[in-house]
Amino acid sequence: MIQVSCPWCGPRNSSEFRYVGESKGRPDPNAATPEEWRRYLYVKSNPADWATETWYHRAGCRRFFAVERHTVSNEIRETRRPAAQLRLEGGAP
């Protein structure tokens, strides 16, 4: 059981959230070959180290956000609003 700090709701039990997966860039669906698209779908880096992930506050504000978590100790060093949200707010590129 780990605690996850939602950028909107504050610290909550991890059972309130859904782990979506590693954050990774999506290739352009119109330009990607089937092989590139399958690589995007299936191949993850699966590090035993710090990882940047997407989590979803399922039983809360129902928003997606970014988490930096160490996959060996489960320590979370940062949670932040997703890049798309920051772009909307004009705070980041």
Binding site: S15, R18, R38, L41, Y42, T71
Partner: protein
């Protein structure tokens, strides 16, 4: 890799040829065995040993690292040890090292819930796991080691129409492949497991079950030790506490491994790890479509035997069996996020207890003794990744998810054949790494014991 020949009689490009000794060569290093090694286990030897009061010899020996081996296997779990054992026993290839950063059977092979079954969903899966059940049936005699395989029957419960439909599907696929599996109703379930609440007064009434009589439980440590002993007797070197820190690749071809005890030259390196499969594959630059999730399990205090079958409920996310010692062994779904942590959580025990009491309310006073976690390498289609990789000489036997222990013997047998002949055996042909890039997935999630 799409042109990889499959059981076609043409050697695969990914496996360098190695010399198979002629049958006249003595396969077991008998010159360095003392008179008492290896012990032959039998009722008579137990009796005479008891009279003499001597210690039993160690089951496997400690060796110095050789500068080179024909085959280096990474991971001394059931897959690595079985591969080494069948290399030595079926093919006479004994210049083999099995390396482990910990101890024999310390990973998933010693942390699983010891369930063996073949009631899968895809024809490929059913054939594969059925071969494993067959090997398990004769394993005690083959290894001269009591692995305590108890084919007590395996029940997968259905609590709704859609799971009953999947059960029917699995039963038909199984029958077609000659595997004994059928769908039974609540009355028949009650006869098999009298303590189960099969009434329709529950939150999730039991509508039926997939009954698989050949399924059962086994002593997983004995399987690991038996394979280790069998391989050691035939001359394989088992190196515990020897961590692989790097793998040397020259011109797309494996040349050896770096370990914490020094370098070993080897033309063939087999990745038989679970939990660390991506980390070992990363050493040669082969990306594996794997996500590592912990899977927790728990065991209760021992009580008189009352549960004579393995019971699984996907809806309630729980599976349970009773060991010969009388302890109830529970498992559940994998942890909901990827992690390499093997810590247990209270959340797991709470959910487990709630669910198991819905099935068997009468065990509410039993106490949980301990819980633990193992690492499961989950692939996108819940089928393993076996065979050659883009790096010549680097072979994979990984991505077992929650099915690894059941598949130990057949994987060892097939990987040994691949190494010895250079040809991918038909039985593992559909589990190749190239299937992900080519979109040939073998969807086996429908046969998962519980939702993951």
């Amino acid at each position: 890799m799409s042109d990889q020949p499959v059981g076609s009689g043409v050697p695969a490009r990914g496996v360098p040829a190695i010399r198979i000794p002629t049958p006249t060569a003595s396969p077991n290093g008998s010159r360095n065995t003392k008179a008492r090694y290896p012990a032959k286990y039998s009722a008579l030897s137990l009796f005479t040993h008891g009279l003499r009061g001597r210690d039993w010899p160690r089951m496997w020996r400690r060796h110095e690292l050789r500068p080179s081996y024909d085959v280096v296997i990474v991971g001394a779990g059931v897959h690595g040890l079985a591969t080494a054992y069948y290399l030595a026993s079926n093919w006479g290839i004994t210049n083999v090292a099995v390396l482990d950063k910990g101890y024999v059977g310390g990973g998933g092979s010693g942390r699983n819930t010891a369930i063996v079954r073949a009631n899968y969903l895809t024809p490929e899966g059913v054939r594969f796991y059925d071969r494993s059940v067959k090997l398990y049936e004769n394993l005690a005699a083959d290894l001269n080691f009591n692995v305590m395989y108890s084919q007590r029957g395996h029940l997968t419960l259905a609590h709704n129409d859609s799971s009953l439909r999947t059960m029917r599907w699995r039963a038909e696929v199984n029958k077609l492949e000659g595997v004994d599996t059928e769908v039974i109703g609540p009355d028949a379930i009650k006869e098999l497991v009298p303590y189960m609440d099969t009434s329709d007064e529950t939150r999730y009434p039991i509508l039926g079950a997939l009954y698989h009589p050949p399924g059962g439980i086994i002593r997983h440590d004995a399987v690991n030790w038996g394979y280790a002993r069998g391989a050691d007797i035939r001359g394989v070197h088992i190196h515990q506490e020897t961590e692989v820190t790097g793998i040397d690749v020259e011109a797309g071809r494996v040349t050896g491994v770096q370990t914490t005890r020094g370098r070993i030259a080897a033309p063939i390196v087999v990745n038989c790890t679970a939990g660390w499969a991506t980390l070992i594959s990363d050493m040669v630059g082969v990306k594996m479509p794997i996500i590592t999730h912990p899977l927790q399990a728990a065991v209760t205090e021992p009580v008189k035997v009352f549960l004579n079958a393995v019971v699984v409920s996907g809806t309630l996310h729980v599976y349970v069996s009773q060991t010969d010692r009388g302890e109830l062994v529970f498992g559940a779904s994998t942890d909901p996020y990827a992690s390499y942590s093997t810590r247990g959580s209270l959340e797991f025990t709470e959910e487990l207890a709630g669910h198991i009491l819905e099935l068997m309310p009468s065990i509410s006073k039993m106490r949980v003794l301990r819980q633990w976690a193992g690492l499961c390498d989950i692939t996108p289609d819940f089928s393993p990744i076996m065979g050659i990789t883009p790096v010549e000489g680097f072979l994979a036997d990984v991505g077992w998810g929650t099915y690894g222990f059941k598949a130990g013997p057949v994987s060892g047998e097939a990987m040994a054949e691949l190494i010895a002949t250079g040809r991918t055996p038909e039985i593992i042909a559909s589990f190749d790494l190239a299937r992900f890039a080519e979109g040939r997935l073998v969807g086996e999630k429908g046969a998962a014991a519980v939702g993951h």
